[in-house]
Symmetry: C3
């Protein structure tokens, strides 16, 4: 794994949901201790959850949003747990990746 | 490399192309076994492929799209191979990163 | 860390700033040797820098943009240094991640 001078590893959490679920995801981020997030709206896509949607598999959905937050590793499990519970009843996907930031105090 | 409890490593494949090539990328994703994707449209940018475009290097292009899919590692080579062939004749870039998901069955 | 056949590791640098700072980030990318970038505009979000903004913490900002560039590892420190200096006086966040590309010559 590459490292960068003076950068701190963090967890980048991306959640793609229907637009109507954006407030729920945002609230979960903040309740779990995230200090910020970015929302990309107006996405389109085919759900990775086609298996669960049966014949809707090839039905493209408009008005998806992706919410992105970056949190310290030790806080990431709480964020992930909250999103997982939400996605038990709502359509959406969750991606968690390693990233690095220059000012870790902004995220804590 | 950091690991997360109960998350499964996957390949995140991002492709930035002109809007007119979105259907071709989408078809390649699905033919190679991806179960979903997300499209971010209306991007602008300067092609990383300036070297190949000569004097168009500093000519910003509007109407780019980024298509994102997440597939199991063992399926990623097939997706990548398809996109590489497409990009032999079309402008665009391909990024492949490691990510982690909570419900791997959604992606297989 | 997973590796992919015939892909080359690169640094993916993402910067979220107010729309008015997009030209400054773009110029820093190119001055530091990036050969391209992609801009996602029209984002909304809550600044990760709430700590520094006091009572603006819960004031969502519209018109954010995310600029994404991919550069060789050995060039990434120069790009990061330029963005860090910019963010000393401007709001914004910087994320650096490892990604992989199929045509490294496009990025050098």
């Amino acid at each position: 794994m590459t490292t960068w001078t003076n950068l701190t590893p963090m967890a980048k959490i991306e959640v793609v949901v229907d637009g109507e679920d954006v407030p729920a995801v945002r609230d979960l981020f903040l309740e779990a201790g995230a200090t910020g997030y970015t929302t990309v709206s107006g996405l389109s896509g085919l759900g990775h959850d086609g298996y669960h949607q049966g014949q809707l598999l090839f039905n493209d959905r408009a008005s998806l949003s992706m919410l992105i937050t970056v949190v310290p590793m030790e806080r990431s499990e709480a964020v992930i747990a909250g999103i997982r519970r939400l996605l038990e009843s709502r359509s959406g996907v969750l991606f968690v990746s390693e990233t690095h930031v220059s000012r870790p105090d902004y995220f804590t």
